[in-house]
Subunit: 433 residues, 2 copies
C-alpha cells in the first residue's frame, strides 16, 4: 500500500526503515546478477536481423547505378541506402552521407575536424584556451558519450534543463545569444536518452531561428531513435534542416543516425546529414581517412530492409520485444514506488531508456546499494556533464537487454534500494531538525 514517505514522522520513518532494511537483507540473499546499465539490444532483437547475414547472394554485389560494391570508392555511400533513410532522418538523400559503424564515430570525427580546422564558413578552429574554452550546451539529463566527447576535446559543458518538450529554450536562447564561446549543443530530439522526451515543433523552430553569438554554432542533432517507437503513436519531430535553412541558418544542424539499434549493433550503417556546404566539408576531411565505406554492408542492408515499409515493419517487430520490458519497468515501479513521494520516472513513447529520479542526494547511494545486491546500474551522475548530477537524484534504466523476468527482478530490487536510501536520508533530516 503506497504511503508518502516524505510525510511520515520520525517514528513511522524508523519503522519503515527497519522494514526496508529487512527487505534489502533478503535482496542480498537472493544473490542476483542483473544488469540495467547499457542500451544494448537483446539477443531476440538481434535475431530479427538474422536474414541480414545471408541477404547478399553470390552474384549480388552491384548497386543500382552499376557500382561494384566490393571495390574501393564511393565516399558518400550507396545512393539506395541514403534514399531508404532520407525520409526517416528528414535529410534529402543527396545531403546524406552513409558510412560504416557508427554514428558515434561520425560525431567524434565531426567534432574532431571542427576542433582542428573549424567548420564550413566558420572563423577558425574550435580550439579553445584554458581561459576561454569552447563550450557546448548539454541538455540534462543526457547521454554520457556525448559528454565524454566534449571532455576528450577540451570543450566546456554548460548544462541546460531538459523538459518534457525539449531543452528549456528561454535558458538556451539567453546563453547562446550572450556567449560566443558556445559553438554547439547536443540534441537527442526524439525519445531522448535517458528521459524519452521529444522536442516539440516549437522548440525545434526556436533552435533553428535563435540568434547565436557564435557565427559558427552547430546543433549536434543525434537522431538515434528516429524509428524506435514503443507505442502506436509514431512520434514525429519538426524538420530541423528545413527550418534552419528557412531561417537563414542552413549550416546549423549536423544530423546523425545509424542502424545500430535497427539491425546489428556495430555491424550497421551510420549517417551524417546536413547542408550541402557541411556535407562537402565532411567529405573532404573523410577523403584523407578512407577511400570509401563498406558498401557491401550497405547493399546488404538495402536488400534486407528493402524500403521504408520494410524498415517500419522491422521496427514493429523490435517494439513487440522491447515494449513489454518497458511496461514491466513501469508496472513494478508503480507497484513498489507509486505514491511513495521519493521517486519519479518517465514514460517514454520510444527509445531505449527510462529516467528515474529519486530523492535528492540519494542516487549514488541507490546505485551502490544495488551494486552490492548484484544489480548493475549506470553510475549515478552519468547523465550529467563530468558525471556530476548536482542534485544526485537521476538514474538511467536500460531495460532492453535483460529478459522480462530479469527486468522485473532488477527493478524490484532497485525499488527496495530507493526506499531504503530514502528512509536513510529522511531520518537524517528528521534527526537534524
Amino acid at each position: 500500500m503506497p504511503v508518502d514517505l516524505t510525510e511520515l514522522n520520525a517514528e513511522e520513518l524508523s519503522a519503515r526503515h527497519e522494514e526496508y532494511l529487512k527487505a534489502y537483507a533478503d535482496l542480498l540473499n537472493e544473490g542476483l546478477s542483473l544488469d540495467l546499465t547499457r542500451g544494448k539490444p537483446a539477443p531476440e532483437q538481434l535475431d530479427l536481423s538474422t536474414g541480414l547475414l545471408g541477404a547478399l547472394g553470390e552474384d549480388d554485389y552491384r548497386s543500382a547505378d552499376g557500382t561494384d560494391c566490393r571495390n574501393y570508392g564511393g565516399p558518400r555511400g550507396l545512393a539506395e541506402i541514403r534514399e531508404l533513410f532520407a525520409g526517416f532522418l528528414q535529410v534529402p538523400a543527396e545531403q546524406l552521407v552513409a558510412a560504416g559503424n557508427s554514428s558515434l564515430a561520425l560525431m567524434h570525427d565531426s567534432l574532431s575536424y571542427a576542433v582542428l580546422d573549424g567548420v564550413a564558413g566558420g572563423p577558425g578552429p574550435w580550439r579553445g584556451t584554458t581561459d576561454a574554452p569552447v563550450a557546448f550546451l548539454c541538455p540534462v539529463p543526457g547521454y554520457d558519450r556525448h559528454f565524454s566527447l566534449c571532455d576528450r576535446f577540451g570543450i566546456e559543458m554548460i548544462p541546460v534543463p531538459l523538459n518534457d518538450d525539449g531543452p528549456d529554450m528561454a535558458v538556451v536562447e539567453e546563453l547562446v545569444a550572450a556567449d560566443p564561446r558556445i559553438k554547439g549543443m547536443w540534441c537527442v530530439p526524439k525519445y531522448s536518452n535517458p528521459t524519452g522526451a521529444t522536442y516539440s515543433p516549437e522548440v525545434v523552430r526556436r533552435l533553428a531561428t535563435m540568434e547565436t553569438a557564435a557565427p559558427d554554432f552547430r546543433l549536434f542533432w543525434d537522431n538515434a531513435y528516429a524509428v524506435h517507437h514503443l507505442t502506436d503513436e509514431t512520434v514525429e519531430i519538426a524538420d530541423v534542416l528545413a527550418l534552419c535553412a528557412e531561417a537563414g541558418n542552413p549550416d546549423r544542424p549536423f544530423v546523425f543516425g545509424s542502424t545500430s539499434k535497427i539491425t546489428l549493433a556495430g555491424a550497421g550503417v551510420a549517417f551524417f546529414g546536413s547542408s550541402p556546404a557541411n556535407v562537402e566539408w565532411l567529405l573532404k576531411r573523410m577523403s584523407y581517412r578512407t577511400i570509401g565505406p563498406d558498401k557491401v554492408n550497405q547493399l546488404r542492408h538495402v536488400r534486407f530492409l528493402r524500403d521504408a515499409e520494410g524498415l517500419a515493419a522491422h521496427m514493429r517487430r523490435h517494439r513487440s520485444i522491447v515494449a513489454p520490458k518497458f511496461e514491466a519497468v513501469r508496472e513494478v515501479l508503480e507497484e513498489t514506488l507509486g505514491g511513495s513521494g521519493v521517486a519519479e520516472w518517465t514514460r517514454p513513447k520510444g527509445g531505449y531508456f527510462i529516467s528515474l529520479d529519486v530523492l535528492d542526494d540519494c542516487a549514488a547511494r541507490v546505485v551502490r546499494l544495488a551494486k552490492d545486491a548484484g544489480i548493475a546500474l549506470t553510475p549515478a551522475g552519468a547523465t550529467h556533464p563530468g558525471g556530476r548530477d548536482p542534485r544526485d537524484r537521476n538514474i538511467r534504466l536500460a531495460p532492453t537487454f535483460p529478459t522480462i523476468e530479469e527486468v522485473r527482478g532488477a527493478v524490484r530490487g532497485v525499488a527496495t534500494c530507493v526506499l531504503l536510501a530514502a528512509t536513510e536520508r529522511l531520518l537524517e533530516k528528521v534527526g537534524s531538525r
Copy 2:
C-alpha cells in the same frame, strides 16, 4: 629494334621523332579508354571472395569465447581474427587491434591523436608551428595517401631516397639524429608502393636501433602487402616490433595492415599492432569514437579464410590473376623501351605497382600525352611529397584492375608517349647546345 636514343645525333633524333609522332597520331586514332591509375583489385580478384558473402550461417554469430558478435563491444576486435593475422603481420595477437575499413583510417587516426595529444610517453602534442613544424621522413618514390595525411595535419615532409633494399639509411640516420622536429617516418617495408622494394634485414635493424633526436619518434610501418606475393619467393622482412623492443625502443613502430586487397576493398578488416603501451594509447582514444568494431564482418573473415594456410592459398589465387598482368607490363616495356636509354622500371616480387622512371623532365609530359590518348596514369609527381618530383621522371603503373589485354594496350601506348616525350626533350637539348 632497340636503339639508345640518348646516343643519337640531331638528324637521327629527328627521324625518330617523326616516327614517334606518327605512332602517337595512330594512338590518338585508336580512341582508347584505359586506366592504370589506382591499385584496385580486378573484378576477378574480388570474385575469389564470393564465399565471404555467405560465410556466416544463420546461427553463426558467436566467436570462440562466446561473444555475440552482433552486439556492441570488444574494442580490440575478435581474438581469432587477430590470431589469424598475427603471424603475417609479425605482431603478437594480444598486441594487435582489429578494426573495420581501413588501414588508412587507422593511420589517419593515429596521426590525428598524435597531433592532438602526443604519443604514449611522449613530451606532448605533435602540433608544430609555422616556424618549427613537425616533420616526417618520406622515402621516395612513395605512396601519395601517406603524403596527403602529412599535408592534412600540417606535417613537413622530408624526402629520403628509397633504394632497392629500403630507405638510404645513412641519410635517414643523419637526419633523425640531428633534428628533433622529425617525429616519424612512413615505411612500406615489403613490396613498397610504387617500386616494389623490400627493406633488407639490415635496414630494418638500423631503423629499429638508430638514435633519434625526438624521444617520441614513430615508424609508421604500413605493411600493406605482407602476403601479396607475385613469385614463388615469399619475401619476408625482419620483425620490426621485436627488433625495436630489443633495442630499447619498444614504442617506436606503429604497424598497419588490412584485408582490403585480400578479400573485398573497403569491406574488410584493418589492423594496428604495436607495443602494449601504444595499443593502450590507441584503444583509449578509440573508446571515445566507437563502442567496438564490426565483429560480424571479422567473424565472416575468420570463417572464410579459416587459417594461415587458407589465407596463403587465397593469396596464391590472387597471384594467378595478378602476376600475368605484371608480366605483361614487363614484356611490353622490354619490347618497346628496352635499350632505349630513356626508361627504367622495377620488377617487383609482390605488391600492386611498377615504378617507371623516364627521362628527366619528361614524366608530366608523358602523363599528359597519355591522357590525351585516353590512357589515365597517376599524376606525375604523385609519388613525391607535395606532388613535386624534383626530376619529373617517376610514373606509377597500377596493372591490377584492367584486363591483361587492356594492360598490354595501355603500356604499349604509354611507351609511345615515353619515346615521343624523350625525343622532344633530347631535340631541345641538341638544339640548345
